[in-house]
Symmetry: D2
Subunit: 225 residues, 4 copies
Amino acid sequence: MRNVFKFFQIALLSLPLLAMRQDKPLRVIFFGDSITQAGVGPTGYITQVGEMLKTKGQAGQFELIGAGIGGNKVYDLYLRLEDDVLSKKPDVVFIYIGINDVWHKASSGTGTDLDKYVKFYEAIIRKLKAQNIRVILCTPTVIGERNDNSNQQDGDLNQYAKTIRDIAARNSLQLCDLRKYFADYLVQNNPENKEKGILTSDRVHLTEFGNKFLAEKMLDALLQK
Amino acid sequence: MRNVFKFFQIALLSLPLLAMRQDKPLRVIFFGDSITQAGVGPTGYITQVGEMLKTKGQAGQFELIGAGIGGNKVYDLYLRLEDDVLSKKPDVVFIYIGINDVWHKASSGTGTDLDKYVKFYEAIIRKLKAQNIRVILCTPTVIGERNDNSNQQDGDLNQYAKTIRDIAARNSLQLCDLRKYFADYLVQNNPENKEKGILTSDRVHLTEFGNKFLAEKMLDALLQK
Amino acid sequence: MRNVFKFFQIALLSLPLLAMRQDKPLRVIFFGDSITQAGVGPTGYITQVGEMLKTKGQAGQFELIGAGIGGNKVYDLYLRLEDDVLSKKPDVVFIYIGINDVWHKASSGTGTDLDKYVKFYEAIIRKLKAQNIRVILCTPTVIGERNDNSNQQDGDLNQYAKTIRDIAARNSLQLCDLRKYFADYLVQNNPENKEKGILTSDRVHLTEFGNKFLAEKMLDALLQK
Amino acid sequence: MRNVFKFFQIALLSLPLLAMRQDKPLRVIFFGDSITQAGVGPTGYITQVGEMLKTKGQAGQFELIGAGIGGNKVYDLYLRLEDDVLSKKPDVVFIYIGINDVWHKASSGTGTDLDKYVKFYEAIIRKLKAQNIRVILCTPTVIGERNDNSNQQDGDLNQYAKTIRDIAARNSLQLCDLRKYFADYLVQNNPENKEKGILTSDRVHLTEFGNKFLAEKMLDALLQK
């Protein structure tokens, strides 16, 4: 009898815990630019992460939220951090930003200097860490798919990617090294050294397959412990 | 008797108020870029505002603080707003930013798009107004002193200046229209249409006389009611 | 008798001259960029100059040739001067170049420095004058139709236009001051200070009306003596 | 007697020919930008090629001429080709241009689009080949000495270098692949991955050692048959 009581006691105590694990999925925000904005589309990478989780029977454990706005640079993320991320109380935030910071230097004269990029990037991290949010840093993917470092912005993208790797190391944060994954893939799978058409449709934005490729990497990072 | 008591009561209540008016000068922060950073130098414009106030016997009424950092654009001000301005509890803040936002487009590909400029500018204003701080908006001065709109960045500077005038009107804020003051002065006082050497030493940064000219305009704005 | 002989002598001498005036129309080449490339379209400015000449009954006196290529800057004109102009032995050449030299600074980082612009411009002029070709210099029109010098490139365009006026004066060449004509028109006819839609469809390329306006100015310059 | 006379006659006729072969060294022009302009300085690469030839006892066989002007891009070479190269009737011309074509995109918005770069490059080659001049094409060296393709302009420089290799192949011209030589050297000899200080003093312009390294490569190319 006593044991039975004890059992019930434990069961009762456990209920909220079980409930929490069942009812409250991990809230994951993908924070970025137009690639992330498109990520919630029918074939977008966030949608595909969701489908992959469904296949794994883990759909209920995660709530995926896209917070991408086209044309965004690192300082735009900083400006809308409160409204679009912190106010939503996420458990995990992917930061995937940098392509426009580099690209807009050439296309409109309004890119972001590397030192300022770092300043805003780290300011975002500080605010997320202050809320005990798990932060995953993504290196910028590509502007052009040539696999021999001959796309116009390759030098700059390599530099910004290295910097993000340093920031991750310095802050003991998880890294999702997208630029490396893309580069490795393109060395193997772009024999004609084309500028686009493999993972991107226009040198930057992802094809359905590119979204799938990205989704796999994001999912790996998310599930990694 | 009762009236006497009341009188004393009022007097006692007024004391701290009177004291405050005498003891606590108005704290004024000049928030900007390299021009403002140089403004606290021996002949800088902030120093000269201080000297002008001394001459007027009003030195004790104002505490002038320079918060300028070279190379700053509007988003840099936003990033350091808390640390360099709000934490100091100012009564008045001059915002004098925009030259690098325009200039860096051509010089390093890292200027600021006008729509982003407005977004950050208004975000700064909102945070200042939330603290009941009196805000004075300054239009950007010059990049080149030619007086016929033939300096490379004149079109862009005119556009950003117009936008600041609109922001001031929209938010019912005081405007210190430096670009107009400089333009009017140069029409009268640059007969050879030189690029520099009148108010600036290098097309942007101010000569001692340029600092004096600016100081007069800032002082007028500060004392204006 | 002596007088009769003299009369015949004059008549004989005049014959080739008359013949030349009747048989050989003045060959006019418009040498420029995309605006000139579009100039030979159904409503393009060169086509409209042709129609205006027809109305005046002077169509037979002029042969109009468009030599415009989209994206061209002054050095592109220099590169194709022999093939596209000199080899055609024109009598008159309009040089209408400069918009891309300014515009591409911001849009792709590949504009033309003013000093180089002058060098190539004058090199073109020298080669044309060496063939006794009548040269008419056109100032660049607009990038944006705002009438208060607040289009991004206005400062630069004003600078390049001034430089062309100087080149014309220095070389005693005819000037067709298109930028001034456009500016004057827009002050009168753009009360809402719109960026486009008056003379241009997209801030740069001309509407049918813009082409007509340009055609009138080109025709005036051509017929001016 | 007659034969003797004939012999002398032949000998006399041959003398100038022999003399010419001995007295008239191969005239070599180095055609380029500021690096080539500095190349004729006391420790410049052209000066060092001369000294290397002296050591080899071949100084008399070559006349080395520097034709470099700071800030030059490919179209500047085209503009001064007649005056600075063709008029001097060279036997060999090194074309070493491209750094400013890439660099000025970011530093002043006045770089050269790749397609235009090719057009002017090939126009120069055509004019040189029409005079039967031996042409040696040099790929652009570096803007920054990091050895992992993370200098800002590496992508663009790699692209322009590849293009020059293609032009050389297409036109069956000799290539002096400076960018490859520099890259290979820096992989071996820049263990700290520094931006400058190995072959360059400022990321672009050569140290004395950099000039020596370049001189060796130029000499190899010159003597190669």
